[in-house]
């Protein structure tokens, strides 16, 4: 019999909360985690708002000597992974044979962008001999995976996906496949991003991707609304503990749900814009359904990519219609990014976590700031208030610059 993959632990730090419980409560309440940028003086920037994590103290999780050597994205992933492993009741001693069967897959769109920027500043201002010896380990996008494997004795497969805003959805899908093919029994899977620095904000802003709604920061991320004007950058991390089903049952683990579908496609069209009509996105969704062995009508909730850009939300809506047909109009769809902002490479993991909690609690969080319908976005986006829905199967979409399309399907475990 083929191996099945269940979710046995969750962790997150994001603009709505510094743990799963506080995040989920805020998400159900439809709160916004967006505000004016405080991480640096943004007064000279075109875009001046973001979803920041207030009062994140890395030393809550990491010894000071170690914490100071890490980029913020590493610290965030370390924190969410610490929570998730504790939630799953998993810890390995260095000589535990089980540790050889436990691995890591982490996605990040950019990696240590803050360290990158600071390193360049140091080199220009003080010369190459003053560049920190930690520069490279802080910047590279795989280091979050490396670090947690070192800290938590995870000696199985250790990998990293860097597919922009689809990165952590890819990481979770890849991790599930690693377990299915028998190469590991447990995978720490997730993603992290800490992009709130001048360089990244300027870059995304110049690409005309960011909302400039400075008058109303909390209303700026408004996916599917007619007056949306771009995404709001967010920082954060989320970790899911994926585990082979028999392995989880044997140790009496609490099981949140199961990952049953993973679909991918490429737009093959443009570096930032989605292919008009959403054909690429639709194929990723269809592949995920096929992998899950589900019909579109079996899906009770779609956690949309829903970035709040003009292009994404209209295209994603078209793609959902292609795959779901008439059912597109009845399935509840919501965008977590309306509340957290866009966690870039971390988004897919956080939104997978939302799907799992929606399945567990029978509650679909809302798309907030939805006030003015857009004729191109005419589906049920669960506007502004959470809804009680029995969710047996949930899909989440993640689409990245470069045309990377990923859909995952989660289901109640029976």
């Amino acid at each position: 019999m083929s191996r099945r993959v269940v979710v046995t632990g969750l962790g997150t730090v994001n603009p709505l909360g510094r743990d799963v419980a506080s995040f989920w409560e805020a998400a159900r309440e439809g709160e916004s985690g967006i505000g004016e940028i405080t991480h640096f003086d943004a007064s000279g920037m075109k875009a001046r708002i973001a979803g920041e994590i207030a009062d994140f103290d890395p030393e809550e999780y990491i010894e000071r000597k170690e914490a100071r050597r890490l980029d913020r994205y590493d610290q965030l992933f370390w924190a969410s992974t610490h929570q998730a492993l504790a939630d799953a009741g998993i810890s390995y001693a260095e000589d535990d044979p089980e540790a050889m069967r436990a691995g890591v897959a982490v996605g990040s769109g950019i990696g240590g962008m803050i360290s990158f920027q600071n390193g360049i500043d140091t080199m220009r201002e003080r010369g190459p001999d003053r560049v920190s010896p930690l520069t490279i380990t802080q910047i590279i996008s795989n280091m979050a995976a490396g670090l947690v494997s070192i800290r938590y004795n995870l000696f199985g497969p250790n990998t990293c996906t860097v597919t922009a805003c689809a990165a952590s959805a890819n990481a979770i899908g890849d991790a599930a496949e690693i377990i299915k093919r028998g190469a590991a029994d447990v995978m720490v899977a997730g993603g992290a991003e800490a992009p709130v620095c001048e360089f990244a904000v300027a870059g995304f802003s110049q690409a005309r991707a960011l909302s400039l709604n400075h008058d109303d920061p909390q209303g700026a991320s408004r996916p599917f609304d007619a007056n949306r004007d771009g995404f709001v950058m967010g920082e954060g991390a989320a970790t899911l503990i994926l585990e082979e089903s028999e392995h989880a049952h044997a140790r009496g683990a609490e099981i949140y749900g199961e990952i049953i579908g993973y679909g991918m496609s490429s737009d093959g069209y443009h570096v930032t814009l989605p292919r008009p009509g959403g054909g690429g996105a639709a194929r990723a969704m269809q592949h995920a359904l096929d992998d899950a062995g589900l019909a579109a009508t079996d899906v009770d909730y779609i956690n949309a990519h829903g970035t709040s850009t003009m292009a994404n939300d209209a295209t994603e809506t078209a793609a959902i219609k292609t795959v779901f047909g008439d059912g597109a109009y009845s399935v509840p769809i919501s965008s977590t990014k309306s509340m957290t902002g866009h966690l870039l490479g971390g988004a897919g993991a956080l939104e997978s976590l939302v799907c799992i909690l929606a399945i567990r609690d029978g509650i679909v969080p809302p798309t907030i700031n939805y006030t003015t319908p857009d004729p191109e976005c005419d589906l049920d986006y669960v506007p502004n208030e959470a809804r009680s829905v029995e969710v047996k199967a949930a899909m989440t979409n993640s689409f990245g610059f470069g045309g990377h399309n990923v859909s995952l399907v989660f289901a109640a475990h029976e």
Binding site: K65, D129, P133, L134
Partner: protein, 81 residues
Amino acid sequence: MDRAEVEAKMTDLLVDELGLDRDKITMSATFEEDLEVDSLGVVELLMALEDNFGVTIPDEEAEAIGTVGQAVDVVMEKLGG
């Protein structure tokens, strides 16, 4: 700057810039074993010494530094003490 001042400043640097535990820092403490400073940390230490004491320490001299006291020795020598 006399030796006591260099020792005090060295201790502060190790705490502030390398995040080391002040209680563990003695002049006989070894960086590698006692203080668990890895190869990257050693480079950070050298940069911190150069920045804060205004000295230049070539790599071949740095390799001879094993303990906190030896780091103080090198700084004292560079300072002309």
